[in-house]
Each structure stands twice: as C-alpha cells, then as structure tokens.
Assembly symmetry: none
Homo-oligomer: 206 residues x 4
DNA sequence: TACTAAGCGAGACGGTACGTCCCGTCTTGTT
DNA sequence: AACAAGACGGGACGTACCGTCTCGCTTAGTA
C-alpha cells in the first residue's frame, strides 16, 4: 500500500499477466474449466503471486472481467428512447461476449462470498449513475414528470439483455435493443395504470 | 423407458428422495456447498443411484429445482397490466427464494454443458406459452394492435426480476412488481417511437 | 440338495458356464481384473445365479481353479528321488500356468475369509495324502528309517515351486524339478545334524 | 531426484508418516481392509501426498512392508546346517508376522503391475546375496564340493516357510526351522542321485 | 557494501468433492 | 423356485482443484 514500504515491490507485469491469462483461459475453457494453477502456468508465474493479490479465485475472475469496466458517458441524443437505445447497446457490448454468462453465473453462484457480492454492487453503482443521468435529462426535457428509480430501470434493461443472451441463450437478435428501448421508454412515459415515482406514492395518469 | 424392459425397475421412491434431499440441502448449504455424497446420505441411498439418473451434479440440481416446475394458468384479469402483475408475482414466487440465485448462477456457469442449456430452454418454453396467452388475450381485447414476441416479454419480465433479486441482491421491494407490470404494459401499448411487431417490420404509432 | 425338492431345479449348464467364464476371464484380465458382473455377462447368466452358488467372489474363483483338481496317483518309480521328481512335475503342472500366481495371491489376500482358508486346507489335504503315500513307500522300501511329516515335505516341495514361479517370477528352468527332488530326497535320507521324525523327538543319526 | 530442483521439497516426515500408518493399519485391518483414505487420515496428511509418492495402493504397501527391509549379515556358525537354521529363523522373522500372508498375496495378485514385480525382484536379490555368502562359506569350508545356485536355495527356504505359514495357515511349529535347515543342508551335501552344480551339468556322486 | 524485507517461480501440503467402479443383495417379470 | 436383467446401499478408488506453506533466489531500499 504505502509507496515506500520495505522489501521488493510488486511486479506490475505480474498483475497484468494474471489478468490477461485469466481472460484468455476464460475464453478457452469457460468459468467452470478455469483453474488457478492454469492461470499461473499460462502467466508464467507462481500461484502465490496470485493469492498475494486476490483472496479467492472469484475475486481474481471479477478483477479480470468486471473491474475497471467503466461505463462511458451517454451522448445526449435528445430523446429518452434514443438514450435507452444507446444504453442497451452499451450493456450488450459489455456483457454480450460469449462466456460472460458463465462468468457471471459463476460469480453469482459464489456470491454468498460477501466480498464478491459487494464488488458486484459497486460495479452496479457505476452503471446506475449513468442511468440516473439519462433519466434526469429526460425529466429536465419534460419527457418524464419525475425521474424514476434508476435501480428499477437498471434491473429492467440489464436483466432483459442478460436473460436473452445468457439465460435463454438466444443471440443478439437484430432489433432487440430497439424493442427494449421503445418499450421501456414508452412504459416510463405512459405507465399503464400509473407508475409510482421515486419518493412519492401517487400514480401518474397515463 | 419401455414399460416392460427386463430387470429390476427404477424405484420411484429413490427418484423422489433424491430430489427432495437436493432441495433440502440447497436450502441448508447453498449451491456451492452442495455435495452429491451429502445428497445420497440425506436421501438414504447410494451415490450410484444418483449417477444412474443424472450424469452430473448440475443435471441433478436442475431436475430438483426447475424440472416440472409448471407455470400455472393465468387468471384473465381483464387488463394487460393486471395480467403482467400476476406474471411478475408468479415469476418472483418461482425464482425469488434465497439461494435460487446461486443455483441459477451455478447452472449458468455450467451451461456450456449442452444438456443443461437444452433443459433450460425447454423450461423457458413453458413460461412462454403462458406469456403468449396473456398477450393474445390483450390483443383480442383490443389493448394491443398485434401480439408482441413472447420471447421479448419473457426476457424483460424474468430478466428484471432476476437481476433485482439475485444480481443486485436487492430484496423484493414492495411495489417492484407493480412498477414492472405498469411499465411493460404501458410500453407495449404505447411504445416510444414505435415497436416493431412480431413478423412485421412496421412501426406501430403510439 | 434333496433330489426332489420343489421348484425349478438348478441348471447344470449354468454351473459349467460360470466356471468356464471365470477361467477365461482370469486368463484375460487376471485376478485383480476379474469382476463378478463380467463373469455373469460372459457366461450369459445373471449375477444372482452366481451368488446362489458361491457366497463370495473368492469362493467362485476357488471353485473354478482349485476345486476338483485331483492329484493323480503317483507311479511307484522305485526310488524316493524319482517319486519326488514326479511330484515336482505334477505340482508344476497344477500351479505353473501363468496367472495362477495372481489367483493364489488374491485368495491368500482374502484368506481372512475363513471359508476360503478352510477350502484351501481341504485342497492341501488331498495333496498330502499323495505325499504320505510316497513317503510310506520309501519307508517300506528302506530308504527312510521312518516316514517324515507329509506336511513338512508338502510345504517344501510346493513352496519352492510356487516361490520360483510366482514370487520371483522365474520361469520353469530346465532342471529345477530335478534339483528339488534330489535335494529333498537327499536331505530326507541324510539330514544334516539329524531330522526329528514325525511323532518322536529323537534325532536320527546321519 | 536432483538435490536442488526448484519448488518446495518433499517433507520427509510425510514419507515416514505414510509408511508408519500403513504398517499400523495393515496390522489392525489386514490387507483387504486397508484404505488409502484411512492411511492418509491416520498419518494426518492428504491423499494427494500419498499418490504423489506411490502410483497405487499396492506400491505404497510394498514400500511400507518390503522396501528397505534389509537382510542382516549371517553369523558364521561354522556349519551349513546352522547357517541355514539362522536363515530360516531370519526369514520367519521377516515374513512370519500374521497379516504378511495377506500382504504378499495382495501384492502377488497385483504383480501383473510390472512395477510391483520389479520391486519384488529387487528385494529378492538382497536375500540372495546373503544366501550366496552362506553357500560360499560352506564351499570354502569343504562341506560342499561347489556352491549351488543361490536362487534355488532361496526358493526352497523361503517357499517352504511361506507355504507353511501363509498358504496352509499352520503356525510356526517348534522345530520346523530345524527340520528345514537339516533337510536342505543334508540334501545339498548328499543329493540323492546327484545334484547338478551351478554352471556344470555333471552329477555329484552321493 | 552488506543487511533486511518482501516478491518471485516452483511445487508440496492438508483437505475435500468428483465421477467411476465393484461388491453382494434385492426386485422385477418369465420359465 | 430358478432364471436374466439390472437397480439398490455402501464404500474405495484415483484425479483434480483449492488455498496455504515452504524452498532457494531475486530485487529493491536502508545502513
């Protein structure tokens, strides 16, 4: 931690080699087929160098796949629907790669590890900030009477994409992102029977 | 398979004991803590009896948690929103139990096993029939000009619920199902910018 | 047991098929590679038909390899040495086949099974009667002052042959039987330092 | 192998613990009742530590019971008969313990494993050197005209003892070693009908 | 220049689960 | 009641992986 602590400093090439080897092997063998020993061998390092950095295999995988995956700033397209369209494409780009389903699944299975769960939540918060920005813009623009809960929109957008790609194993059908953006935007603007807004319980007339 | 094949027939009580013990131990120890040997011990049977039925631990878990989980008939509530509200509650009831996230995640991680993937898809088809019924009713009722793709609605509904509960680890917030039903129903009825219908590429005016 | 007991009588072809299949598979796979299921399959019968006849796999193997192996009458060659030479050749013929070492070893390893041990002893008694006959003849002939303990001679003759062939894995060297017969006969006739006779403790002067 | 190969070196205490635990459990449960898992548990180590050293259970047992069992130097008693008497007692001490029959039998049954067979032969060579020494002394002493084949004497001595104790299951009768030494010594000195010497085919007159 | 502290590759360690195999018994329907 | 077929409870096998722990060596900063 401290920059000048005694002893030999960590070798940054080792850090990079671990993450790189993890990604390569995830692509080759999938999450279930990934072993720490194989990562070490592929990276040309010892297992101890991995465990000095990550407490568990899951943390290593998380670091290699999620960590630092930053959400880009959304372009202000001028409409909620187009903004959500961009968001859908962005999320698809992040979690759409084959193998990601297995990785996320594996992390999910081990999410009883509180460490992994916390990291996952931290990553979610990043995406939410972006979503909040999109929703605030739409509200300012007058498309929405009040900003809905970003967590709700996040769950719908990301969940739908994840389910289609990785749960049902269906490819990225042309137009899915369009449909999703149109439906969610439409539903937020015209909720059937009223959609309670964040922080208030009143219904919004359709 | 055939009713009168030679030899001692499978003992149905063994089938039941395996599934029951699997469910109990999943609840007790979670997916990661589940052991085939423990299932056998709890069921009072031998490991061979399990492996005679399921090739891997994953298939056993799938059978115990997914297989035969039949989707009930949707009540005709008279409105798409209320039907989707019922659907959201039903899905939540099916996948909302704590631990299911780990199970689904574990299955996902092993979904490179084509067997598990196929079984998953088969299960999805069941839910889709129910969704198609709901959408057809809404169309007949005049709420929707044409029935949307059930697979799309399925992905949105199930994905949103799964993401909220198991990816983000947020509890079943009061009103989440309401919001989801309102938003999706509203979005299907009034898609922003037009929503292509199944089998045609034309946009429907909002 | 009783000739006219009720029910279907045992099928003698099954008895033969079991023993035959056991011998074939012993030759093919050795004792360690022998399984009851394989014997049943090869014999075209069910496992139960085997266990109806033999309580354990060991008993089956014993029956297939040892049982009924009757020791032929020794020709009266006129000299102890020649009689023992014949005995050595006979024993070699009985236990010399490749694979017999493994069978005997396996039986030995399971000889804590009292049943197998008893059967083994019963078989030994047969050989001993033959040896006793040879020794009695030599005594009557005047070659020996008194008949030595047949068990002793049995152990020496059979043990030497077994050790050479199966413990040390040396082939049936030409002349080994000659040497053995000459040495044992010579030693019985001229024991160094005196050899106590059966039933008396006195030494016989050389 | 090489003294300075990389990595953590084998722990010699683990080697010792394995062999010790194997011997203890062989005495307690016999060869058939011996389990690798039980050895590991008793030794307080993991199964992998055993399989890192021995490819199979049989190799482990061999190492624990045979390997390094060194034959002591024979005292020069002054007579072949007394030397063989000492040899008989020594062999009895080595293979006479109850349970050794099962062990040797089990090893024999698995001797199709070439590894075990080779190891067995290596062990035999040790004993033979001792026997060769005894026979050479007797030859030098003038008791024998020429040294017989040590392998022959080895087979007779060891085979007789093994057969008596473990094949026929007879205890170590008082005097058996005496009889054996007297007979073999007498037979070597006065072979009936001539005993071909090592390397020549001529008969020695009695 | 030496000393100290930590990092490094390599791989052994205790532990645990896997999926396979076999034993000896039991349960079908058939002969 | 014996038969062929094969499922059953039980349990050992040998493999694989996890996360920890030594080895001997290297690489900095400190004295």
């Amino acid at each position: 931690m401290s920059p000048n602590r005694p002893g030999r400093p960590r070798d940054e090439r080792v850090d990079a080699a671990i993450l790189q080897a993890t990604r390569v092997l995830l692509a080759e063998a999938g999450y279930a087929g990934l072993t720490v020993a194989a990562v070490a061998a592929r990276a040309g390092i010892g297992k101890a160098a991995i465990y000095r950095r990550y407490a568990t295999k899951q943390e290593m995988v998380f670091a290699a796949t999620m960590h630092g995956a930053q959400v880009p700033q959304p372009p202000d397209t001028g409409s909620l629907r187009a903004d959500l369209r961009w968001l859908a494409a962005t999320i698809t780009g992040m979690i759409g790669a084959p193998g990601v389903g297995g990785v996320l699944g594996g992390l999910l299975a081990d999410m009883e590890d509180e460490a992994v769960a916390t990291a996952m939540r931290g990553f979610a918060a990043l995406e939410r900030a972006t979503i909040a920005l999109i929703l605030d813009r739409a509200t300012a623009r007058g498309e929405l009477p009040a900003a809905p809960d970003p967590a709700f929109v996040h769950a719908v957008m990301m969940g739908a994409i994840f389910a289609r790609l990785h749960v049902f194993g269906e490819g990225d059908r042309e137009g899915f992102a369009d449909d999703l953006a149109s439906t969610v935007a439409g539903g937020l603007i015209h909720p059937a029977g009223g959609l309670p807004r964040q922080g208030d319980g009143t219904a919004t007339p359709g």
